[in-house]
């Protein structure tokens, strides 16, 4: 490891050699007593105003023989550290922290005058709550950790900064409550993150791949949230959280499938209402996945599935359709997915026009032209809405729905049952960080059922979930 030589010119040259980019600038100046200083900084990400105010202005009056401690005490930046190694100094410059050097310096001083680009804290669009906190995470890790620290004012809250990505050197904040989170899980998360050898981490979703026990699985294995209140609640239950710099989506492990059927709002409304809405979400998801499949299987293999009057209506509406029921349903599903994909990415004013085109032109006209039947559109529309009842599982459930549709079109209802059996078996054997994905239903953990798809009164939720094996069991005294 190369260290500073003490020769200002030589050291600046060595650092410039390590950082040849054009936006890495040097600023040389002398104090009133004639001492030479040089500051290296990354132009776009250094707050030059702060640099001038907190570093250059005080150093102008510097008069003693400079040492790192003396320089450090002279500058007024609250964040400051000393560093000897050239590589580490270069890394600090790249992180936006200017490096101060002077003639005879065997240690450089790093000032924390990084320019922080942040958007305002706003309500996340994917997790809207009518009642309860509306703050959402943003892309800056420090702002995000401050949101957590504000909610958990305890020394037990540990936030460890890890660095991932050979090139991006992305900060990942590992958060947990000491004494509440399982030590083994914390160590395992640290180990898994330490083993990641990737060039850049643009988003937290990259980490999920490395944290999952079955990385190629369709099944979600890491919890996600954009809301600090949910994140803190999960930490308080004994989970370990990860916040990635540059991503507004925080991760939590261990993850249970039932988490995605819960919403923060459930804890701010009466338990009866919360239980009802959770069951409603489950019902909506089941209907969304199975309804198109059973509709196809019924038409192709088992007409008895429909009541007689409905059967007559369906028969009337599909009489002139040129496609087979499964092809018709697949086409409608494809159109829905295309509309969905396009409407998310289109500018808002075009999006309005798109919904008119989607609803009127593709829906109404396709029916009157005899391309697709009305029941198919109704079923796919209902299924599409149903999937959004559990928005965090959309990526998985839309694929499962498609698989169900294909199986129903080829094998019928028995195929649907077998695929369900397959999925059940796969899900019950999936576990991450030693926690079964389907807990508290499989294995049954009676006490944890109180806050699953059911929601008991807060007074009954006096212990942390047993599934998470927290060493600190009691949360309500």
């Amino acid at each position: 490891m190369k260290t500073l030589s003490g020769d200002l010119k030589k050291d600046v040259d060595a650092l410039k050699k390590l950082l040849p980019a054009e936006d890495i600038l040097t600023f040389s100046f002398s104090s009133e007593k004639g001492l030479d200083f040089c500051i290296l900084f990354a132009d776009p990400i250094t707050d030059k105003e702060l640099l001038g105010e907190q570093v250059i202005r005080p150093l102008k009056h510097f008069s003693d023989k400079p040492t790192a401690d003396m320089v450090g005490s002279f500058i007024t930046s609250p964040e400051m550290k000393k560093e000897k190694e050239l590589q580490k100094l270069a890394a600090e410059v790249l992180a936006g922290n200017p490096v101060i050097l002077w003639d005879g310096a065997d240690e450089g001083v790093v000032a924390g005058t990084k320019k922080v680009f942040t958007r305002a804290i706003s309500e996340p669009s994917t997790d809207v709550a009518v009642k309860g906190p509306r703050e959402g995470f943003i892309e800056d890790v420090k702002t995000n950790t401050s949101l957590i620290r504000r909610r958990l004012k305890t020394g037990e809250l540990k936030i460890e900064m890890l660095e991932v990505g050979r090139r991006s050197k992305t900060f990942v904040a590992l958060c947990y409550l000491e004494g509440t989170a399982v030590k083994k899980t914390v160590e395992e998360v640290k180990k898994k993150i330490g083993e990641i050898d990737i060039d850049i981490i643009p988003d937290s979703s990259y980490l999920t791949h490395f944290l999952a026990s079955r990385p190629y699985s369709l099944v979600k294995q890491v919890g996600t949230t954009e809301k600090p209140d949910i994140f803190c609640a999960k930490l308080a239950e004994g989970r370990v959280g990860l916040i990635v710099d540059g991503s507004p989506i925080a991760l939590t492990v261990p993850y249970l499938l039932v988490e995605d059927f819960q919403s923060s709002e459930d804890y701010f409304v009466p338990p009866y209402r919360a239980t009802f809405t959770r069951l409603l979400r489950l019902f909506a998801l089941i209907v969304a996945i199975y309804l198109p499949a059973f509709y196809i299987a019924g038409q192709l293999f088992k007409l008895q599935l429909f009541p007689v009057k409905l059967l007559l209506t369906i028969a009337g509406s599909i009489r002139d359709i040129p496609f087979s029921p499964s092809l018709e349903m697949l086409l409608v599903l494809l159109v829905l997915e295309v509309l969905n994909e396009a409407s998310i990415r289109m500018p808002k004013y075009v999006g309005m026009a798109l919904s008119v085109v989607g609803a009127l032109v593709l829906g109404e006209t396709a029916v009157s032209a005899g391309f697709v039947s009305t029941p198919a559109i109704i079923i796919i529309a209902f299924s599409g809405i149903g999937l959004y009842a559990v928005p965090n599982l959309i990526e998985q459930t839309s694929v499962v729905r498609l698989a169900m549709l294909l199986v129903a079109g080829s094998v019928g209802t028995y195929g649907i049952i077998l695929l369900t059996a397959f999925m059940l078996l796969y899900l019950v054997t999936t576990e991450n960080f030693g926690t079964p994905l389907l807990a508290p239903f499989s294995p049954i953990v009676g006490r944890d059922l109180r806050d699953s798809v059911f929601k008991y009164n807060l007074g009954s939720l006096d212990t942390r979930p047993r599934t998470l094996k927290s060493p600190n069991r009691r949360r309500l005294k």
């Binding site: 293999f301 088992k302 007409l303 008895q304 599935l305 429909f306 009541p307 007689v308 409905l310 094998v411 019928g412 209802t413 028995y414 195929g415 049952i417 077998l418 369900t420 059996a421 397959f422 059940l424 078996l425 019950v428 054997t429 576990e431 079964p436 389907l438 239903f441 499989s442 294995p443 049954i444």
Partner: protein, 358 residues
């Protein structure tokens, strides 16, 4: 994955999953020989089987696998041979539920009779299931038990209004020979205690597990008896002709004309549970072979593919003789079942005592 089954999971299997296997052909089969007395042979079978379950669960106290118990007395090679014989028996056990399932799927899931290939995907599922270690089944039972319970209760609720329980009287109409014949042939459907034997050594043994397990089994049996009563109450003298009983009793529910076949919700719930139940003897058999040969990489997967391919080939070969095979198993070869489900635990218990004395 945890390698021990919880006692709760065993109870759930005995009370909710095991009864599901008795709802397909058994009701019609009992009605054929015992007529309106069909409850008595069924009750006797459940009592005997509960006794066998009690014995097997007593053996579980030793927390040793079947192979380990036999090895202590007979040595490794003899134990391996005996365990492989038991595996063959489990393979034989799987035939009847498999044939039932296949005929059930072909006739109840399609408006027109499909080719045998329609049942083929079951074997893909079975290969996947059998390749998993037995311990993973415990969690499956946790999740399947509510499906089984909801399915059976739902069907009973929809059917009970259409049943005329007077059809069960007078008692003794079938006579002693009818009772004996029904009891003997129904034995082919009762091998749940034998299904537990491959799990030995994988239980989390708890005090009182044996009698609790037997009681759970009797509880499940009571639900089946209730179903049999409803079944005969609905169909009466033509009950012997009503195969796949559980999918037929509820279709006379008055609300069906308005709501459609809502009973299919419950029938499909039970069909889901059956898919697991049917593959269980195969899984048990594979576990026995793994115990005999020793755990090796891909052995389970290889055995699973081989056994399922063999059974699928057998079904294809016997496609037009499936009913004959069924009647051979239930009317001629029924005596094989008690030899294994009753004699194996009865013989193993003294071995335990002998070891204690030594």
């Amino acid at each position: 994955m945890k390698h021990k089954l919880a006692s709760r999971q065993i109870y759930l299997f005995l009370s909710c999953i095991a009864p599901v296997g008795k709802l397909v052909f058994l009701p019609a089969h009992l009605a054929r020989y015992a007529k309106n007395d069909l409850l008595f042979p069924a009750a006797l079978e459940f009592l005997v089987q509960a006794g066998a379950v009690f014995l097997v669960l007593l053996l579980a106290k030793r927390e040793k696998s079947l192979h380990e118990m036999l090895e202590e007395v007979f040595g490794r090679i003899a134990a391996s041979v005996l365990v492989c014989i038991f595996a063959l028996f489990l393979l034989f056990c799987s035939l009847l539920p498999l044939l039932e399932q296949q005929l059930f799927v072909q006739s109840e899931f399609y408006d027109t009779l499909p080719s045998l290939v329609a049942f083929g995907p079951f074997f893909i599922f079975s290969v996947y299931l059998c390749a998993k270690p037995l311990a993973s089944l415990g969690r499956t039972w946790d999740i399947l038990a509510p499906f089984a319970a909801a399915g059976l209760v739902g069907i009973l609720l929809l059917s009970v209004g259409s049943a005329d329980f007077g059809a069960l009287a007078p008692v003794g109409a079938a006579g002693g020979s009818g009772f004996l014949r029904a009891t003997a042939s129904a034995t082919s459907w009762f091998f749940d205690a034998a299904l537990l034997i491959p799990f030995l050594g994988k239980f989390e043994y708890k005090k009182g597990m044996a009698w609790k397990g037997a009681l759970c089994y009797l509880g499940g049996g009571a639900a089946v008896l209730l179903f049999l009563a409803v079944f005969y109450g609905i169909f009466g003298p033509i009950a012997f002709n009503q195969l796949f009983g559980f999918s037929k009793t509820s279709k006379y529910f008055s609300g069906i004309t308005v709501l459609g076949r809502i009973d299919y919700l419950f029938i499909y719930s039970l069909a889901l549970v059956m898919a697991f139940y049917v593959a269980l003897p195969l899984q048990g058999g594979i576990e026995c072979v793994v115990q005999a040969v020793g755990e090796k990489k891909y052995l389970r997967t290889f055995l699973s593919i081989a056994v399922n391919a063999l059974l699928f080939a057998l079904l294809v070969l016997l496609e037009y003789r499936l009913r004959d095979v069924l009647s051979v198993i239930s009317d001629t070869l029924y005596w094989i079942f008690p030899i294994f489900f009753l004699l194996v635990p009865v013989l193993l218990l003294p071995l335990r005592r002998r070891r204690r004395e030594s």
